[in-house]
């Protein structure tokens, strides 16, 4: 009964489109919620509420928005900036990543700008596995 990644993604796209008042077509899985879709701080509260209501999960304040990188993990963050390994991972996962927005490198304060539909889906998959003991289909 586990949803597939594609099913999760479709659901999140709908929730994001609704919360940010966008056409579904504008919400690509790798669009930055902040830079491309205009999310502001209360939109993250709103999105979390919608996702929790829809999936029946409760998230702690930060977990859903931690994105792909834990800022306390030295593999990904050093000296307040993303490490080369982290940058490489972004490059691999997001071929169309807008590097021009981060000419001076990606600082910890910029991490929310890396949030996308897919980072939400990644986290949902992790939670699904934690809570249901099996990886999502």
């Amino acid at each position: 009964m586990n949803p597939t990644r594609e099913e999760l993604r479709q659901k999140i796209v709908l929730l994001v489109a609704d919360a940010l008042d966008r056409d579904v077509a504008q919400v690509s899985p790798q669009a930055s919620l902040i830079d491309d879709l205009g999310a502001e701080s209360i939109d993250f509260l709103d999105l979390q509420f919608r996702i929790e209501s829809d999936f029946g999960f409760k998230f702690t304040d930060e977990e859903l928005w931690r994105g792909s990188f834990d800022p306390t993990d030295p593999r990904w963050v050093a000296g307040g900036r993303l490490t080369a390994a982290a940058v490489e991972q972004v490059r691999r996962r997001q071929p169309d990543f807008a590097w021009e927005r981060f000419a001076a490198g990606i600082a910890v304060a910029d991490l929310p700008r890396l949030l996308t539909v897919d980072t939400i889906v990644d986290h949902l998959e992790r939670r699904w596995a934690q809570d249901h003991g099996a990886p999502a289909g």
Partner: protein, 364 residues
Amino acid sequence: MPASPLIAPDRRRVVVTGVGLVTTLGGSCEEIRSRLAAGEVAASRPVTGAPGLRLATIAGFEARPHFRQPKALKLTDRKTQLAVAAAALAVADAGLTEEVSRDDWAIVLGCSASDLQCAELARALGPLDPAAPERAVDDLPFFAERLLGGLNPLWLLINLPNMVGAHVGIQLASHGPNHTLTGDWIAGTQALGEAWLAIAGGEREVALAGGADAPLDPFDLGALATRHTTAGGAPFLVAEGAAVWVLEEREHARQRGARTLGEIRGYASTAAIGGDLSGALQRAARGALGGADEPWDEHPATTRAEIHRRLGHALAASGPIDGALLLAEWAAVEGAESAAAGLLLAVGTLGQCAALALAGPGRP
């Protein structure tokens, strides 16, 4: 305190150059007037548990086209949506195109109260054990768990009354003074008056002012029902609606060649002391007339009662709606250079009053 004469302020003149209306009988003075003339009464429904009330809403109202940033819609209640729409219509009616800087406008709007959104609160509380529903009220840790887990986190931002003015400011990108008056049923009339003061006193050149109300929540209707129990007469028709006026300093309006719909010449608002409503009305009227040494007609009360009976009483918005219709009436009877003058009076739940002295554009 020894008596002292009020200082006659060095007042500038303030004209009305645009009106935006969203009401149960239409979105312009012309439409409302013709529908009233045709004998139309707003469609309404009975209110559960309140035989003394009927509620008229605006069918087919679409807020979205009036929002420059439609994402803000999710943060608005109905009265805020009506206010944003009325403000946009008023700006268009006044011919204030994007070329005219709106950076400095004052925005003063009135509404009667906040919006509890009881259906949202109830949904967050549920589901309840039918045998012991009161647990959700009395067991506070249980209450907290339900609300914190189930209530839309944006609830407070929708509830706050100041969002009426704030959203109009955000949608118009106007950085001027921006406030929302919460003066019960007289708030819209007070808003027109306070905006008049700001322009007359030289603080601003342009203001958007008026009122919006949409008492659709069961809590609002319950509260209104306590004041309007049936006594054999016709039920009280409560309505949603909004009216926003564009006020301008007269020279500012002249220089941009704006059409003038009328003028605000004075304002006062005051409380009833010791239940003396007629004393309050007299003080408000006297204050609004100020040093006027010319005869002023009282706003024909019978006409307004008729408007409220058919269009519905839109609480804080009713003063600005009625006032706009009065200006339109003068224009229709006497032409665009009408020299008529009258007082617009609004009265609140405790007998508090607001009075606005209005004049036609031809009044010297």
